[in-house]
């Protein structure tokens, strides 16, 4: 399943927003424009299915941290998503609407009440519930998170549950003390990368590591023979051979890999470790500009391969290099522009200027990045000279 459309009301820094997604979507915006908050919509839906609505809200600091600051009379939060389920030659559209608000009261960790939950599949309404005065407790749990209730829409539940968010922090992979030996723990920052590799079936793991080895051989000078190893305590490791002046080279483990190598390795593993929707947060960090330029093509190739079965990849970024290619369509780019009434989300293809720039011969980067660059920076004001 893949997301086709998202509509938000009062979600973090989005007062009201509505945007469509492609199979490969680039969310572009300035710092603090709301890129992570937008990705958090998908993470939130995953949290609802895995931990329940109450925990999903509380783990974000409670309703006050989730709700749009300038929310006025209608201060409920609403998330609407439209998805496509393409299996073989059958295509079905699903929608999920969740509207919730604080239950009120004086408690610091206020409960969350659901005021609306609706699920449709094609023309069928599978769930349509509103706030019920009768049973206070039932208003606090989505039907989607309850296995006894969600049988009719298990596919939607599985889709949300299968969403993965990746923002690899190389230091956390390298730092052995941060290794968390638990498959249950969510792995946002790459801490569990080695465990995720270890948990993969052996043949599948070897096949993916072979691909990663070939790519890293191109991207990292002297890199070869990436192998999966377990130490005497059974802890997983990655080992490579660094070729140098001695014929046998030198072997190194992940704690000796460079930040860029670990980041690239983690990103490629995440892309190949399908098939759920993948959220990539600023994949450009730590990477060489030429590698960044080729990431979109790598993702597109992966989506065409049988390995990941056309999985949807949603990428947040402010990198010029990432979209500096004419192989990205403006339809694949979503622009975030902060304003007084919250951040506005717009598809780049809806901007007349961006389309005109593409027609004139510019790349999507030239068409989009000036739009998402802070005005002060465009004016050349990031200069200490004027401040001292």
């Amino acid at each position: 399943m893949k997301f086709l459309e998202v509509r938000l009301k009062n979600w973090k820094n989005f007062g009201s927003a509505n945007f469509e997604l492609s199979n490969r979507t680039f969310i572009m915006g300035a710092n603090a424009a709301g890129k992570s908050n937008l990705l958090d919509v998908f993470r939130f839906l995953k949290d609802v299915t895995t931990n329940g609505l109450q925990k999903a809200v509380n783990s974000r600091g409670g309703i006050k941290k989730v709700r749009y600051l300038n929310a006025r009379n209608k201060n409920y939060i609403e998330i609407f998503v439209r998805l496509a389920d393409n299996r073989e030659d059958i295509s079905v559209e699903w929608t999920y609407t969740l509207q919730f608000n604080s239950a009120g009261g004086r408690h610091e960790n206020r409960d969350i009440n659901i005021s609306l939950e609706k699920i449709t599949c094609g023309n069928n309404i599978l769930c349509d519930r509103k706030y019920s005065d009768g049973d206070y407790l039932s208003n606090q749990f989505t039907y989607l998170e309850q296995p006894a209730m969600n049988m009719k829409y298990r596919a939607l539940y599985e889709c949300f549950k299968g969403i993965s968010y990746v923002n690899i922090i190389p230091q956390l992979i390298r730092e052995s003390d941060s290794f968390i030996p638990s498959v249950a723990a969510e792995d946002f920052y790459g801490r569990n990368l080695l465990e995720s590799i270890s948990a993969s079936p052996a043949r599948n793991r070897t096949s993916k590591l072979n691909i990663i080895n070939k790519i890293l051989k191109l991207a990292v000078p002297q890199f070869s023979n990436l192998e999966y190893k377990q130490d005497e305590k059974g802890r997983p490791h990655l080992q490579v051979k660094y070729e140098h002046f001695r014929p046998q080279g030198a072997y190194q483990q992940e704690d000796q890999f460079s930040d860029g190598t670990l980041r690239l390795l983690g990103i490629i593993w995440a892309i190949l470790d399908g098939p759920g929707v993948l959220l990539l947060e600023e994949p450009e960090l730590y990477l060489h500009s030429e590698i960044i330029k080729q990431l979109p093509m790598f993702i597109a190739n992966a989506q065409k391969s049988k390995l990941v079965k056309n999985r949807q990849v949603i990428i947040s970024s402010h990198s010029y290099d990432l979209i500096d290619t004419d192989t990205i369509d403006l339809d694949e780019i979503v622009i975030l522009e902060p304003g007084k009434e919250g951040t506005i989300i717009e598809k780049a293809s809806k901007s007349e200027t961006a389309r005109a720039k593409i027609e004139a011969g510019y790349t999507p980067a030239d068409a989009v990045i000036p739009k998402v660059t802070p005005k002060g920076i465009l004016e050349g004001q990031l200069s200490l000279f004027d401040f001292i």
Partner: protein, 204 residues
Amino acid sequence: MTVYIGGEDFVTKQIAKRLIKFCIPGMEVEFEDLTFRAHGTRALETLGIMLNFAKNHPVVCVFDSDNHCIIELLDKYTHNKKNVDYAALNFAVDEAEAWLMADRQGLAGYFGISIDKIPVKRQGDSEISNNIPYKTSLYILAEIAPLSNVASIREALAFERPGKKPSTYNSVWGKYIDELWNIDEACANSESLTRAIKRIKRIF
């Protein structure tokens, strides 16, 4: 209204923006950079694309001629002047800094030096920069900036390597171009600036 700016560096782009504000006073104008990632000659190489874009959008480009023949530059970078009529395209004589120096009083005041230290336009000449033995920016760095009684300007414009613009060069010009540069005064000392303003006024 959004006006699209092309230039080869910070100084040329800031000059373009200030000239537009000067030419259409009172109008709410936003600027968008068309040479976002390209600098110097690389920016000039995108001139053809900028002119394509200029068919339907207001574009103002300012480039240094660097003592090249303007006709040859146009031929080279616009594919034989194709589409040139769409844009207000001006090559500053020598360097854009020559236009900044053309406001002698303004520059002297900003640098905190006597106006006598700024070169004058010779009788019958079109530009002050014709009276300078080398590139204007180099002249400012070598002959004018060291005399400045403003320490931050002296430091920002001090050579780091002989003959090369210091890395803090651009930071000095933002405030001067935006707030202090008197374009009317500068026009009196620069025929090329007067022509540029006429062209910009024509497209708005």
